[in-house]
């Protein structure tokens, strides 16, 4: 009897854990792939055209292309938790930050023969631009009390035009192959650089959450703004801070995106990535209305989305149908998180537990 009790509580703990849904999705996808093609998890070393030995395979592809989304999921989770809304300008601000980075790198010339400034300077400029965009969005949300989705609609609409204007409608191409390392491989290291960049971002945010009160304050503001103010937290600052952190994530994602091809196309770079980032947050079981959050679940959610995308490409699903599959995921999530369904599930769980006890 004690055993069944333990089982029941284990089942309950599992279901109520936030990591449950993304983990379940991950396992489901992995199993489907394993059944249809056992070679899915094979990782083989190959020599790329630059002459380096690198690892390749589906798993590497998922880790590689999932990194931007994982980085954005960090910022998006904080924004969601603090403001109870989402930033839909992420793709457009990636275009702005990327454009600014290229402008500095190429010195304002479309086809330079060598880079005008070191990459680190250009990256810092991109960070600055990301922070400014974050400040703009954050100020609209925290100070002017505009709905986050409406406030960020401004940059969503105007962002790509601003990005084009920064470079005078030119599409600069970075001549230095070293710039491609950030979105590709560093010679001698067989794992994509993007994996390290994502890992670095995750470690930084883990340290910040561990050693500061950011997480606690963000949750407090998200759950009840008034009472957090009464407890001496300034909700305005916390909300703006969340948007600024997202701005920094955007700058890092822009570095990866621009580096992948050493150039930019304002109208399509990081297109619709905001929707994937929001989906990652939802998939992580975070309430989109703010409050309690779990960043690790969001990051896992981001990789699950990339896993899904890669799987669909593998099955040669038409790429304009990808959105429909993601919509199915959204529907399942919404249904699962609906209060009535949750209640029913927990009742069912209890019933099952009771039956077992009787037996």
């Amino acid at each position: 009897m004690s055993k069944t009790n333990k089982n029941g509580s284990f089942w309950h703990r599992l279901i109520s854990n936030q990591m449950f849904i993304p983990l379940l999705a991950l396992v489901l996808l992995a199993v489907i792939n394993l059944i249809t093609d056992p070679g899915f998890f094979r990782i083989t070393p190959t020599v790329n055209n630059a002459g380096n030995t690198v690892l390749s395979g589906y798993l590497i592809t998922i880790l590689d292309y999932g990194s931007e989304l994982a980085i954005l999921a960090i910022g998006m989770t904080l924004v969601t938790a603090a403001s109870g809304g989402q930033d839909i300008s992420v793709g457009a601000t990636i275009a702005i930050a990327g454009s600014a980075m290229l402008h500095v790198l190429c010195g304002g010339v479309a086809r330079p023969t060598e880079i005008a400034t070191p990459v680190i300077v250009a990256f810092l400029v991109a960070c600055l631009v990301g922070i400014l965009c974050g400040l703009f969005n954050g100020a609209l949300v925290a100070i002017f009390k505009i709905q986050p989705m409406i406030a960020t609609l401004i940059l969503f609409t105007a962002g790509r035009s601003i990005a084009a204007w920064i470079n005078n409608n030119e599409l600069p191409i970075v001549p230095d192959p070293k710039f491609g390392y950030f979105g590709g491989f560093i010679p001698g290291i067989p794992i994509p650089t993007t994996v390290f960049i994502a890992a670095a971002c995750i470690i930084v945010i883990a340290l910040v959450l561990k050693f500061t009160n950011l997480g606690l304050y963000t949750q407090a503001v998200g759950i009840n703004e008034k009472s957090s103010r009464l407890n001496g937290i300034n909700p305005t600052v916390i909300k703006i801070l969340a948007f600024v952190i997202l701005g920094l994530c955007v700058a890092v994602a822009a570095l990866i995106k621009v580096s992948r091809l050493s150039t930019i196309n304002y109208s399509v770079i990081a297109k619709d990535i905001e929707m994937d980032a929001i989906l990652a947050v939802a998939l992580g079981g975070n309430a989109l209305s703010g409050g309690k959050f779990n960043i690790w679940a969001s990051i896992l959610g981001a990789y699950v989305i990339q896993f899904l995308t890669t799987t669909l490409y593998k099955f040669q699903v038409s790429s304009d149908a990808l959105a429909a599959y993601k919509a199915v995921v959204v529907i399942v999530l919404v249904v699962f998180s609906a209060p009535t369904v949750r209640e029913y599930m927990s009742k069912l769980g209890k019933k099952l537990g009771a039956k077992k006890e009787v037996a």
């Binding site: 790329n48 055209n49 790509r160 601003i162 590709g184 109208s267 990081a270 790429s319």
Partner: protein, 348 residues
């Protein structure tokens, strides 16, 4: 109270915005700024001179797609802007949008402004009949450029367009001429339904179904997006499928595909494992051809301004244009024969 003030402020800003971008004749309008933050921006080249001064200028209204759409469009817009200047005897106003309804709105505005000529590159082929009838009733000449529309020929004076199907056919014929034993093609398509996609896909589809040694390994739309093309080719490589041709419907997507090949250590270009084909003749793409990293690039001629100018001159002199539909000559470049001169002349 605070809220009310804010609402009023917002309303005021929005109205200002509308005034700034809606009225092309407003003297205060400084095009570039308006272009940066609205999707439809009308700008006045001639900075709205006094009406008397523009009496002998030919007034043209140009409706085009967003200049940022692609390298092709950027070149197209630059070409038109260079031609329709005051020095050349034109008073031109421009409107840009990728959305058909916004373009139609801009056209109505231009008809109301009483332009002499309406130049149109329509976002969508349908929905233009009533606007063009209005234009005809107002005695405005309509000239289509770049893209054709589904409307009766009597509704426009001339059209100067690219024959996308011919572009596709030229490319496929070139590929057939390479004499490979078997063709295993990765076909990366543009935005589904666009004229460029339909024309360029059509030729390849036809050939692949007609010949027994042609096989399309993967056919996917990357929506003109290099990143998507990279992921699609990556997935084919991960799957372990064999292929020897990449047929990308524009240069950006070919570039994304090549990035995936490079990462996987698959050689590409003249005399290598994989043949790379692109379209649009961006300058950087032609340079890849010159370096023999790619094999073929099909031209899509964005320089229609001189043709349009000629037609306007003909109509102004009182006669009808010799040809109603002008199809521009377009080339295909082969990496083995391309020269630096070609890159400089045809690169956009």
């Amino acid at each position: 109270m605070k809220k009310k003030l804010l609402t009023m402020l917002m309303a005021a800003t929005m109205t200002m915005g509308l005034v700034a971008c809606g009225n092309s004749a407003a003297p205060a309008d400084t095009g570039a700024d308006a272009g940066a933050d609205t999707s439809v921006a009308t700008e006045t080249e001639a900075e709205a001179e006094a009406p008397a001064a523009s009496g002998d200028l030919i007034k043209v209204g140009i409706i085009n797609n967003d200049p940022n759409e692609s390298g092709y469009r950027t070149a197209n817009v630059a070409d038109l802007k260079a031609m329709f200047t005051e020095e050349n005897g034109y008073d031109a106003s421009f409107a840009y949008s990728l959305k058909n309804d916004e373009q139609i709105q801009a056209a109505q505005q231009m008809i109301a402004d009483d332009v002499d000529y309406l130049l149109l590159s329509a976002a969508d082929t349908a929905g233009w009949d009533s606007v063009l009838q209005d234009a005809q009733a107002a005695g405005i000449h309509v000239i289509l450029f770049d893209r054709t529309i589904d409307a009766d020929e009597s509704l426009y004076d001339a059209s100067i367009v690219s024959d996308m199907a011919q572009e596709g056919k030229t490319a496929v014929d070139w590929l057939a001429g390479q004499g490979l034993d078997s063709y295993k093609v990765i076909h990366i398509q543009g935005v589904m339904g666009s004229a460029a996609q339909q024309g360029r896909s059509g030729a390849l589809d036809e050939k692949a179904s007609a010949e027994s040694n042609w096989e399309i390994v993967e056919q996917q739309t990357a929506e003109w997006n290099a990143e998507k093309a990279q992921q699609i080719v990556q997935s084919v490589i991960d799957r372990g499928d064999e292929f020897n041709v990449i047929y990308a419907e524009n240069d950006d997507m070919a570039k994304g595909a090549v990035a995936a090949l490079d990462a996987a250590g698959i050689s590409h270009g003249v005399g290598k494992d994989v043949i790379v084909m692109g379209f649009d003749c961006n300058k950087w793409a032609l340079e890849e051809l010159l370096a023999q990293n790619w094999n073929y690039d099909g031209q899509c001629n964005p320089f229609q301004a001189s043709y349009i100018d000629e037609i306007i001159k003909t109509i102004e002199s009182g006669s009808a244009p010799a040809q109603k539909v002008v199809i521009m000559t377009e080339k295909g470049f082969d990496a083995t024969t391309i020269t630096q001169e070609d890159v400089d002349t045809y690169g956009i």
